[in-house]
């Protein structure tokens, strides 16, 4: 004889298992391509292309990596290191600039009243709604006039403007959550407004700023469409664009491509892991209201 409590417990169990299964399936669907890429990066090309397909890898090798970095017997001759440096410099610089502007702008939108505030905010958001690729032609023409084609600076500017609306929007939201009275209390306690910002509001918005930073970095790091238009050589080519080097007219070097894809994925993963502590640091706003 099952009591109501027992039946409720069973129902909860079933629900929990169902939820777990659904999550698992979703993760499988989402992760499988990634997993395949990572696996392929460590397999020889002929195993990847074998027919019928070999599901369980039989041979694991670091050759693909050695190859694209120019070591070992069969060199591919793709300047991965240069691409990597370009990607890093461009993504880092544009992220830092977008964050500085995002923090300043987000704070201003959250705290100050000024003319055309709503219009300006809407404008920023609308600008973000325009697909970047739609701007590629005008940007291309402009950049070629002023000599920013195939320059790191050219991409940095593009990525900053791509990211700023988002960083402002996100950081504005975080500053809005912080009651103004905290800054006021700090000012009564002896701070200048500037000190109150750095000692109170900035630390409290840190998780939001970190999140904005991760998103900005990933956007710049992964961007392909605009970069493929605006870069030409090792001076500015980024990793995603470099990936196309593996496609020759008649062949595609899947193994090398996957190895490079792993190189693209790893820094993004590392960064996300480093910052996730901040993302979920669960800053409780317990100091304000019960």
């Amino acid at each position: 004889m099952s009591t109501i409590a027992e039946r409720a417990a069973i129902r909860r169990r079933i629900q929990a298992v169902g939820l777990w299964l659904a999550t698992f399936l979703l993760m499988v669907i989402m992760c499988l391509p990634g997993l395949w890429v990572v696996l392929a990066a460590f397999r020889p090309n002929r195993e990847i292309l074998a027919k019928p397909p070999i599901w369980v890898p039989q041979q694991l090798t670091l050759n693909n990596f050695a190859k694209i970095f120019g070591f070992g017997s069969d060199q591919v001759g793709i300047p991965v290191l240069a691409y990597f440096t370009n990607s890093m410099v461009i993504a880092m610089t544009s992220t830092v600039i977008a964050l500085v502007i995002g923090v300043g702008g987000g704070y201003a939108f959250a705290r100050f009243r000024f003319r055309f505030k709503n219009g300006l905010f809407l404008g920023l958001m609308l600008f973000r709604a325009v697909p970047g690729i739609a701007l590629s032609l005008p940007i291309f023409m402009l950049w070629s006039r002023i000599g920013l084609i195939d320059a790191q600076l050219g991409l940095i500017i593009v990525y900053v403007s791509l990211n700023v609306p988002f960083t402002i929007w996100l950081i504005d939201g975080f500053f809005r959550q912080i009651p103004i009275s905290l800054s006021e209390a700090a000012q009564v306690d002896g701070c200048t407004r500037w000190q109150a910002f750095w000692k109170i509001e900035f630390p409290l918005a840190r998780s939001g700023i970190a999140a904005a930073g991760v998103f900005a970095f990933l956007t710049s790091w992964n961007e392909f469409a605009l970069a493929s238009q605006l870069t030409r050589t090792t001076d500015s080519k980024t990793l995603p664009v470099g990936l196309m080097d593996f496609t020759a007219q008649f062949t595609i070097d899947w193994a090398g491509m996957c190895a490079m894809a792993v190189i693209i994925i790893v820094p993004a993963l590392i960064l996300t892991f480093l910052v996730q502590k901040h993302l979920i640091s669960g800053l409780t706003f317990g100091g304000v209201k019960g």
């Binding site: 009651p179 006021e184 009564v188 306690d189 317990g286 209201k289």
Partner: protein, 367 residues
Amino acid sequence: MASIMLKDVVKSYGKVRAVHGINLEIGHNEFVVLVGPSGCGKSTTLRMIAGLEDISGGEVLIGDRIVNDLPPRKRNISMVFQNYALYPHMSVRDNLGFGLKIAGQKPKVIAERVAEAADILGLSELLDRTPAELSGGQRQRVAMGRAIVRHPDAFLFDEPLSNLDAKLRGQMRAEIKKLHQTVRTTIVYVTHDQIEAMTLADRIVVMRGGHIEQVGTPMQVFNHPVNTFVAGFIGSPPMNQLPGHIEAGQVVLADQSRVPVPPRLAGKVREGQKVILGIRPDDISPQGHGLGMPEDAAQVATLDLRIALAEPLGMESLIYTTIAGQEVQAKLYGPRIVQPGEVLTFQVALARAHLFDAETTRSLEVL
């Protein structure tokens, strides 16, 4: 320790005027409470004293300094906010010491003063917690502690108790009173709760619509309200107000029933004058169940009233009845239970009744 003075202080938000040229002198170590209904400009006034709001006109002085153009940090005041505004990312200890640290005090001095404040407020056990780990009352105490460590010239409180439940509010009210006695400092305290005002204040400032209606000790404001607004606002339940006019030394109410003019006001009424008769519920009681009814028969009016509703509160009951067609509240002292529909003989303490001019709403007493 300093006095605070407001001279014709005005605050406008664009075209909207929130504070209309108020004048107020707050003495050294005085506990002044600003009360008034929502939106009357209490917080705005307080925030102008704190420097968190620009002053649109007039002057604010703390001590003998005009502080109009000084930022909050240069005014040497502390403020306790309605939402406490504790810094969520700092421990209680750091919250308390923050102001001293900003001021560049030595760690030793900071530790001493924090310990002292924690001791006064019973926070010593909680110093290493973060605000999120505190109860509402404890947060309230930390907010007060943060205010006292700096030994400021004045404390400003903006509805500090309104987020607490009724019981805790009573406790904290007592603690604030105690705090004022311990660390004797000028306090300006904003509330819309007239009980807080009555219990805490040395002087009450009643505000309405950006104006000051009356300033006085709690008893002055309670016993001698200058107009019907103050009469209705201070005291709970509010004063009953019955319209009527003066005829032959008597107040004639709406249903032609007559009540003698309170003897102390006899010389102040004009024949035919339209008035409002104000009587506090405590001054209308069934015979034998009153409190402090005057002995002298001339000071008491007697009338039979039918009870509409009674709310027993233990040793007293709040009674709803009708005088001259208008609902009034009365008080019955003692454990007697009364039933709706019962008719009892009530006594009205005329000695403590008020008369207001119906047109100006001002008390006839002060004219």
